[in-house]
């Protein structure tokens, strides 16, 4: 009877061994504090949104940080995360924050994406990537996945999966990148005060 070692070629076996040892405690690669992609330049791309217009990442970054949120209609945790993403966008959009959600459904489901987004009343931008070109560009395979990109075009934060705790953590990371809200002018404050007293 052949053992696994006999059946697998040496390169394949070596790959397996290296891959496993890559995260064994004590190795140089064990327990990194941050994901490998943090601090890297975010590759630029142009995709079409639901209105049929082209949207470019670097142009969007001119107004402030950008959140990339990859999702698909078949992915239940992704759908669960979208309301939180919409709230995040509503909270920070006035300070230059942009959310680009990237739909990765195959052409089979393309026609259903806009009706779904409209029915939910989401305000964020939805870009269509039916051939998953961005997943290859950013090199990942699982969703939901988010990348937070700062104005220097660097990946500031990356997150895989969904939980309410992760949602909170993402909120904190976005808040860190946002400039503090501009203090209201004295005139505006006086006007508010008068309205309040009348």
């Amino acid at each position: 009877m052949h053992t696994l070692k006999q059946k697998l070629s040496r390169p394949a076996l070596a790959l397996l061994i290296i891959a496993v040892t890559a995260f064994v405690p004590g190795t140089a690669f064990a327990q990194p504090k941050v994901a490998a992609e943090i601090g890297r330049d975010a590759p630029d791309f142009t995709l079409v949104n639901l209105a049929g217009e082209e949207v470019n990442l670097y142009e969007e970054l001119e107004s402030g940080p950008v959140l990339l949120d990859f999702w698909a209609l078949w992915c239940k945790p992704c759908l669960r995360a979208l309301p939180g993403t919409n709230k995040l966008y509503a909270e920070f959009k006035d300070r230059g924050f942009t959310v680009l959600t990237i739909n990765t459904d195959s052409p089979r489901s393309t026609a259903k994406v806009k009706p779904y987004v409209k029915s939910k009343g989401y305000d964020f931008e939805v870009l269509m990537d039916p051939n998953r070109s961005l997943q290859r560009l950013y090199r990942f395979s699982q969703i939901p996945k988010v990348y937070l990109i700062d104005q220097d075009r660097k990946i500031a934060y990356a997150q895989l999966g969904y939980s309410t705790e992760l949602e909170k953590r993402l909120h904190g990371e976005v808040a860190k990148l946002m400039p503090a809200a501009a203090p209201e002018s004295e005139e505006a404050m006086d006007a508010d005060h008068e309205e309040g007293t009348n």
Partner: protein
């Protein structure tokens, strides 16, 4: 040096070691992703075509110097003899691309799609082991409202024979024009052309070629979206070729129309129509490998029992429609109704030979911010395979506020009526899933299934139990270990399916990025 012949191992070592050094060299980044899978299937003893142990690995390495990208993929599949694909171990992709801002040139392996894939789609769907990348050159550019793509290369064959030799020369071009805005509508017009030539000895002797072209248009408006595409395949109809290959229809035609409407905030519709006649555009050297991937117009279901009896697209003889309505009558409640029907093409207007039809209804309600409940009912009838199913599903999610843990449960029941004589029987399956996200790094899921059949030729009942643990070891490595027993069935993505044999044993998956 250890294993000096393995370029893949060297590449992985480079990927592991170089990132630290790369940070010192400004504007050079190295990025690698590895996915390794191993399975030990004791059920394979009943099937000579299935090996007991399978190991697969995909390693992608990218080096980026500003706008220049260099990369390669190493793949291993053991034992590779299973799929008759001698190229399944080694460096199977290598590429270089340069981004000029408004245009990009790529040389080597690439994936691309024209429109919605009616004429040409090169893509990878690892779950169903489809990878029909093209090896050649690709240009993508835009100017003044025009966006064009052009390529020349050879597509990787993906048919059952897994003949990986790229014997067909493929050339294609696609051009889109964005018409200046008409009111609040965005209009895009486009067209594609693909030429395939068989470049082996036979092809060169008889100049075997096929050409395909398509025209499309789309309107995106705040109240509606409309997309339509017409495509045609011209096959050779020379007498000498027909004598050589036998009679074969010279023309293939495909129509696809999609209309979405958003009349009010709480109600949206989508309707799609297809008509595909001799429209399978396949490799001339491997008829099992598709060049196009037209929309299948059947619902992509994510519940196990519903997706177990899928309709596999048949572009040579198919017409049909799909309509879907999504309503949100109140905040937190979503109702989805879907109806699709696929029939064979018949010129007789009074004869409607339905091949597959499906009704799907779903009510999803957010009880509060933490709990969501969904009730689903699905009905399918597949005349070709003689199967009719009724499947109700109950799905409950609990995500406690501010916590890293969550629980999800599913219960599915299916009554499956096999009505093709002499195989007539009724099968009933109960399926339950419990998924516990212990924290952000560990997910434990258990699936149990109990099936009964009234057919005396089959076991009266059978039980299946699978346990899976997903462990995110750190930010860059995640491990999945699954063990148990599961039914045979189809895994489908986008109307393309792969049959997964019965399984009993252990599966291990490891994903890493560096």
């Amino acid at each position: 040096m250890f294993f000096p012949s393995s370029l893949g191992v060297l590449a992985l070592l480079v990927a592991l070691v170089v990132p630290g050094a790369a940070h010192a060299v400004e504007r050079i980044t190295v990025h690698a992703e590895n996915q390794a899978e191993y399975s030990l299937n004791t059920q394979s003893e009943n099937d000579r075509d299935q090996p007991k142990e399978i190991f697969e690995d995909w390693l992608d390495v990218d080096l980026r110097f500003d706008d220049l990208l260099l990369g390669f993929r190493y793949e291993a599949f053991q034992p590779h003899e299973l799929r008759g694909d001698s190229l399944r171990e080694g460096v199977v992709q290598r590429y270089a691309s340069f981004d000029f801002g408004r245009s990009e040139i790529r040389v080597g392996n690439f994936y691309e799609i024209f429109g919605r894939g009616m004429l040409f789609r090169s893509y990878e769907e690892r779950d169903i082991r489809v990878d029909n990348n093209v090896d050649g050159a690709l240009f993508v550019g835009e100017a003044g409202g025009f966006r064009g793509k052009a390529f020349s290369g050879r597509m990787r064959n993906t048919g059952p024979t897994r003949s990986a030799e790229r014997e067909d020369a493929l050339r294609g071009t696609d051009l889109e024009y964005r018409v200046p805005s008409i009111g609040s509508a965005n209009v895009v017009l486009g067209g594609s052309y693909v030429l395939q030539s068989l470049s082996n000895e036979l092809g060169e002797r008889f100049r075997l070629e096929e050409e395909a072209y398509a025209g499309r248009g789309s309107i995106a408006h705040p109240l509606f979206d409309l997309y339509g595409e017409y495509a045609r395949i011209n096959r050779l109809d020379r007498e000498d070729v027909i004598a050589l290959l036998g009679t074969m229809p010279s023309k293939g035609v495909g129509h696809y129309i999609a209309l979405s409407m958003f009349p009010v905030d709480f109600l949206t519709f989508s309707a799609e129509y297809k008509r595909y006649e001799m429209f399978r555009f396949t490799s001339m050297s491997d008829p099992g490998s598709d060049i196009n991937n037209p929309p299948s117009l059947t619902r992509e279901n994510s519940y196990s029992l519903i997706s177990r009896n899928p309709h596999q697209i048949e572009p040579d003889d198919e017409k049909g429609f799909q309509i879907e309505a999504v309503a949100t009558p109140r905040y937190g409640t979503t109702i989805t109704v879907n109806r699709s029907e696929t029939a064979k093409i018949d010129e007789d207007l009074f004869h409607h030979d339905v091949a597959f039809n499906e009704w799907y209804g779903e009510v999803r309600h957010e009880v509060n911010d933490e709990v969501t409940v969904a009730a689903i009912y699905d009905y399918q009838r597949d005349e070709k395979r003689g199967i009719q199913t009724h499947t109700p599903v109950l799905d409950i999610e609990y995500y406690p506020a501010g916590k890293g843990w969550a629980v999800r449960g599913e219960y599915q029941f299916q009554e499956r009526d096999v009505f093709v004589s002499p195989l007539d029987r009724i099968e009933r399956s109960h399926f339950a899933l419990v998924e516990w996200s212990v924290n952000n790094d560990i997910i434990i899921s258990m699936t149990g299934e109990h099936s009964t059949s009234v057919d005396p030729s089959r076991p009266a009942q059978d039980d299946f139990l699978m346990t899976q643990v997903d462990y995110r070891i750190n930010q860059n490595h995640s491990l999945t270990v699954a063990g148990g027993k599961r039914q045979a069935g189809f895994v489908c993505v986008g109307g393309v399916c792969r049959f997964e044999p019965a399984f009993e044993g252990v599966e291990v998956k490891l994903r890493s990025s560096f």
